[in-house]
């Protein structure tokens, strides 16, 4: 009965975005301002957020006992699972996915999976093309990944590759700082 009631309440609201100008054929997973605007918060979004929240708490528990693989797997289930809006997730879902991918990237780089980690960062950036803390954080994580790669290369004695990794880390950190500055300027009166 509760589901039926909720469905009645939100049926019209959920149907409304289909009349907007965003192409349904365009399957990119980024922002669609026309859909983002005016779509009421509904139980499906809350279910997704609840699932993501549970996954992050579970990942905390796995991290505490040192099982980084299990933590990453738990978070991967969130980004691979059903997302409200399908190919056009609402801003909250895109941002949570981006932040979840940032955490996955951080975890993977801690166990030496640098390339996999950078792929997660790239996927996260696709979700948050706008200037935001989320985007800035992803660049920060990219810098951390390259920094860890640099140390791993130095330990192997590959100084030239380590220098390149250091350079990439610096570029990523600078981009992160630039984005964060823009965000701060945007919210400061």
């Amino acid at each position: 009965m509760k589901r039926a009631r909720s469905a009645l309440l939100f049926a019209a609201a959920l149907g409304a975005p289909l009349a907007t100008g965003c192409s349904k054929e365009d399957q990119t997973l980024t922002a669609c301002p026309e859909l983002d605007a005016g779509r009421p918060i509904d139980p499906v979004l809350l279910a997704f957020l609840g699932r993501a929240r549970s996954a992050h708490h579970a990942a905390d528990a796995y991290e505490e006992r040192g099982d980084l693989a299990a933590a990453t797997k738990t978070l991967a289930d969130v980004v691979a699972g059903p997302v409200p809006g399908g190919a056009r997730p609402p801003p909250e879902a895109r941002e949570v996915i981006a932040d979840t991918r940032a955490r996955m990237a951080d975890l993977e780089s801690k166990v030496g999976k640098f390339d996999e980690a950078l792929r997660e960062v790239e996927r996260g950036l696709e979700r948050v093309p706008e200037t935001s803390y989320f985007r800035g954080h992803l660049f920060e994580v990219r810098g951390l990944i390259e920094e860890r790669r640099q140390k791993a290369l130095e330990e192997r004695g590959d100084r030239a590759a380590a220098d390149q990794a250091r350079q990439r880390a610096l570029q990523a950190f600078e981009e992160s700082m630039r984005i964060q500055s823009e965000v701060i300027r945007g919210v400061t009166p």
Partner: protein, 200 residues
């Protein structure tokens, strides 16, 4: 909840303690306070019970019954509750012919601000407000109510950036998702109340 044919003939000033309890219930319906976090979590959990599941046959039948009841065909317990909550939030003005005898009774009882109500014995606090209700209030407050009723607003999906005023620190992703989920839970609750006609 069934009303007598002519409730005005049976109305008497309420016992002060009952009147106070009723006033508290109406005030709570009109200006709800903040829920305890544990109660809030429990309500959200109940409301979000497996939202991806298909409705059961029984749920479809019940929703159809509710729809018909809200359209005036037959009865349904939830329809009474929905009307009760709507009446609490946006009471219909009583006809003048019914107001005058009530006012005379109130003046005879030397009370300046009286609430009359007829209600079923088993009605819950929120459902109390479904009954015949007269609330004496300033005209400007009524105008404000009408303006709010005319433009119910739903909280819409939007970026969560406004929830954060500081740079994201590595290792705090769980805190961020906690903050996002809590904010949108509040939005959803407000939308549901608005959808039920009791939004503020």
């Amino acid at each position: 909840m069934s009303l007598p044919q002519d409730p005005l003939d049976e109305l008497e000033p309420l016992d002060p303690s009952i009147e106070q309890a009723l006033a508290d219930a109406l005030r709570a319906a009109w200006t709800p306070g903040v829920l305890a976090p544990a109660t809030n979590e429990r309500l959200i959990t109940m409301a979000l019970e497996d939202p991806f599941a298909e409705p059961s046959e029984q749920e479809i039948i019940e929703s159809e019954r509710l729809r018909r009841a809200l359209e005036g065909q037959g009865g349904h317990p939830d329809a009474d509750l929905a009307r009760a909550l709507a009446a609490a939030a946006r009471p219909e003005p009583a006809p003048r012919a019914r107001l005058e005898p009530l006012e005379r009774k109130a003046l005879r009882a030397k009370r300046s601000n009286v609430v009359f109500v007829v209600f079923g014995a088993a009605a819950a606090a929120a459902a109390l407000a479904a009954s015949l209700m007269l609330v004496l209030r300033p005209a400007e407050q009524r105008a404000s109510m009408a303006a709010r009723a005319a433009a119910p607003e739903l909280a819409v999906s939007r970026s969560t950036s406004a929830l954060f005023s500081e740079r994201f620190a590595p290792g705090h992703a769980t805190e961020r998702i906690d903050r996002i989920a809590a904010a949108r839970e509040r939005d959803l609750r407000r939308n549901l109340f608005t959808g039920w006609g009791v939004g503020r």
